[in-house]
Amino acid sequence: MISIQTEDFDLGTEYQLLRQAAGDAGAIVTFSGLVREIYDSEQSSGEKIATLYLEHYPGMTEKSLQLIADQAGRKWSLLATRIIHRVGSLKPKDQIVYVGTASAHREDAFAAAQFIMDYLKTNAPFWKKQSSNTDSHWVESRQADSAAIERWQENSND
């Protein structure tokens, strides 16, 4: 299930829902992404963030996250998958994104969660704008994020 929302989420509640939905799972992996106060990007080393604004493309966002989840479901044996992404105005230490995966074995749950996060970063239409007390600018995409998805493509002929 996929949710795009302005509200916060409770990881404990989400974990228990995933656990119930997963049936006879042996492994559950959760990932949560948080707003960092000091964002060490190439543009702004050491800048202290006051707010982070998240814009998205309604419709395409849900569609692209569903596509990523479906791809993960074809590559690994998953019993349940959950993605939540927040949009709007966030503050340091706020939760931004949650991915939960359940599987019989830990290898699949870990790989799928990581795959979903890697593709979400580069293929789902979200954009971050960060504001300090003095400045405001759109976050540039990380080279490391484009590189991260390449290793999944190398494995696509397995």
Binding site: Y57, G59, M60, V97, P125, F126, K128, W138, E140
Partner: protein
């Protein structure tokens, strides 16, 4: 009617979220659409046409600039994604 959406830094620079446009018969690809938008609005060139990192989606799927447009397509221009 073509619907064109703009997001993030592109939206801010153009000072609009979206616009609607009758697709001229001479415009068949994204590249040609960009040329057409530049002709209508020279500012579009500095914001969008020169940006080689610009992404384009048609009907909510990212496509390349040779993609063939249909008259009621939903087109979107945006910078590389930075979610997560």
């Amino acid at each position: 009617m073509l619907t064109i959406h703009y997001f993030a830094s592109i939206r801010e620079s153009l000072e609009k979220n979206q616009e609607q446009l009758e697709l001229p018969v001479s415009v068949t690809t994204i590249d040609e659409l960009i040329a057409h938008l530049v002709a209508l609005n020279p500012h579009f060139k500095t914001v969008v046409a020169n940006n080689n990192k610009l992404l384009v989606a048609v009907n909510q799927t990212v496509v390349d600039r040779s993609f063939a447009l249909s008259k009621n397509d939903e087109v979107a221009f945006f910078p590389p994604m930075t979610g997560g």
